[in-house]
């Protein structure tokens, strides 16, 4: 099934040699096995960088991933790209076999689902912008729930008066919804082309009034978010 080199492909690299730059990296065949083992063992996606740290010096995890991905095409488990990471996930068409493993999903309110979609499609987006789109105040609980589910996190502050916090979706969100990147959101380009992803109304147009809430937005500084869509 696999081309054998004259070395035993199953032989582990000598422990000391593994991380010494003086030794040639193991053959790609071996690197592929190593990546396969690491990704199979993990629950969460593993990034190329983490793979690089765990594999012996001189390995090329990206290339190993590419060949491994082809190898699992059409199999019962698939090698999926999720954000910066890779993970094996069972093929979606076999879900009917998985009653035993099916995870009871937390019931989400319509407000939470809508808010999640708005954050995904408009990120990075401020709370005021979410409210402008939904035409209704976003309750603190809704955002808290999304953050607690680890689908949403706080992004960079917007460099506008008040420096409001922005919200972005996480890698767990991508993993959950089977998206490689946030750019793969269904219908994203059509929505953008139709101008429906503009979160701010033209300055001179009087928008629909929104009743102000007196709740403070006391969200702390989060990690700087990548502006997933702004740089396109």
């Amino acid at each position: 099934m696999t081309e054998l080199t004259d070395e035993d492909p199953n032989a582990p690299p000598p422990a000391e040699a593994a991380n010494s730059p003086d030794f040639p990296p193991p053959p790609m065949e071996q690197q592929e096995r190593m990546v396969e083992a690491v990704l199979f063992a993990a629950v969460s996606p593993v990034s190329i960088r983490e793979l690089g740290d765990r594999l012996p010096m001189g390995c090329d995890p990206a290339e190993a991933i590419a060949t491994l991905r082809r190898r699992y095409e059409g199999r019962g488990v698939m090698l999926e790209r999720i954000g910066d990471g890779y993970a094996f996930r069972t093929a979606a068409d076999l879900s009917f076999l998985m009653q035993a493993e099916t995870v009871e999903q937390r019931k989400m309110s319509r407000a939470a689902i809508e808010t999640l979609a708005i954050i995904a499609y408009h990120q990075p987006v401020t709370r005021a912008e979410i409210e402008e789109i939904r035409g209704v105040a976003v309750s603190r609980g809704t955002l808290d729930q999304l953050i607690e589910m680890e689908w949403v996190r706080i992004g960079r502050r917007r460099m506008t008066p008040g420096r409001p916090a922005t919200f972005v979706v996480t890698e767990a969100f991508l993993d959950h919804f089977g998206l490689e990147t946030a750019r793969d959101l269904p219908g994203l380009s059509e929505l953008r082309a139709a101008g429906l992803l503009e979160s701010r109304p033209p300055a001179d147009v009087m928008g629909v009034p929104l009743v102000e809430r007196d709740e403070d937005d006391d969200i702390g500084d989060g990690d700087p978010a990548e502006d997933l869509f702004e740089d396109e």
């Binding site: 199979f40 063992a41 993990a42 629950v43 999926e80 993970a87 094996f88 996930r89 069972t90 093929a91 979606a92 879900s95 998985m98 493993e101 099916t102 995870v103 999903q105 319509r110 407000a111 689902i113 809508e114 999640l116 979609a117 708005i118 995904a120 499609y121 789109i133 939904r134 035409g135 209704v136 105040a137 993993d175 959950h176 919804f177 089977g178 998206l179 959101l185 269904p186 219908g187 929505l191 139709a194 101008g195 429906l196 503009e198 109304p201 033209p202 001179d204 147009v205 009087m206 928008g207 629909v208 009034p209 929104l210 009743v211």
Partner: protein, 280 residues
């Protein structure tokens, strides 16, 4: 399209039981319908995610592309809704009322010929923006539905059920450089050499020495004697030794005067100081 709105269709009760069949029941049908209308309205208001959501639902009844919606018609539909709610004495949240006021304003602007003096956005701009907002909200709603319909983790796709844990080995790397080593050694060496700071006593006549000397000599000196006569031999010259002996002897004389052992006298400033044993 702009036909006058008298009723809002979806506020009509949706029969959730079997239709009344017997003629006897028909008598009550109107009352039942009215009661149901109230209930339906309550349910509906609760079900809306704010006035924009209500507007979107109303807009759908126009059965046209959202971008081609008649905002005037929509405003009228909304105002009728609010009126009906009031007639049924249903408490509407403040934002529904604010929206009603805004839509009433928009409606009047749309009906009146444009005022060339008026500042700010035109009624058409405001209407277009409302239509945009409705379309955008609708688009987000559809996107949310598409998102939830994807092959989700734990529903359609599954992660490894028995992940193999990575065992963590801890290795300690000691932070010590040559400079730390040298400092430690230097610390030891200087500790060896370090002693409390001490004067070389060769040129120092201490107060203790002076006290002892005066105590010994004062017994013989019943008469006023100059303080300088008490300086020890070899300290009467000049320089550091004399200054040290003089200071010590003077301090000792003050101490003995305090103890009541002798008396001190000085006739003028800078005149010689004389002491004598205190007569008993």
């Amino acid at each position: 399209m702009a036909k006058p709105v008298t009723t809002v269709p979806y506020l009509k009760p949706v029969p959730d039981g079997p239709p009344a069949e017997s003629p006897a029941d028909a008598f009550d049908a109107a009352a039942v319908a009215e009661r149901r209308a109230e209930e339906a309205l309550i349910v509906d208001v609760d079900g809306y995610e704010g006035p924009l959501d209500l507007l979107l639902t109303l807009a759908r009844t126009q059965k046209v592309d959202l971008m081609k919606i008649s905002v005037l018609h929509l405003a009228e539909q909304y105002l009728v809704f609010v009126e009906q709610a009031r007639a049924l004495r249903i408490e509407l949240a403040a934002d529904y009322l604010v929206m009603a006021a805004w839509l009433a304003f928009l409606k009047s602007r749309l009906l009146l010929p444009p005022d060339p003096e008026a500042e700010g956005p035109s009624a058409e701009d405001m209407a277009a923006h409302l239509a945009f907002q409705l379309e955008r909200l609708d688009a987000m709603r559809q996107s949310a539905a598409r998102l939830m319909g994807r092959d989700r983790l734990g529903i359609s796709r599954f992660q490894r059920g028995a992940p193999e844990m990575v065992t963590r080995k801890r290795r300690t790397e000691w932070q010590a450089g040559l400079i730390d080593l040298m400092r430690a050694y230097a610390r030891l060496k200087t500790r060896d050499e370090f002693r409390p700071y001490a004067f070389d006593r060769q040129d120092v006549f201490t107060m203790e020495q002076a006290l002892e000397r005066i105590r010994r000599m004062i017994g013989f000196a019943g008469e006023w004697t100059e303080l300088s006569d008490f300086l020890p031999d070899g300290w009467e010259g000049h320089g550091a030794r004399r200054r040290s002996a003089t200071a010590a002897t003077f301090a000792a004389s003050l101490e003995l005067a305090r103890e009541g052992k002798l008396e001190i006298r000085q006739k003028d400033a800078f005149a010689p100081i004389t002491i004598r044993r205190r007569p008993t």
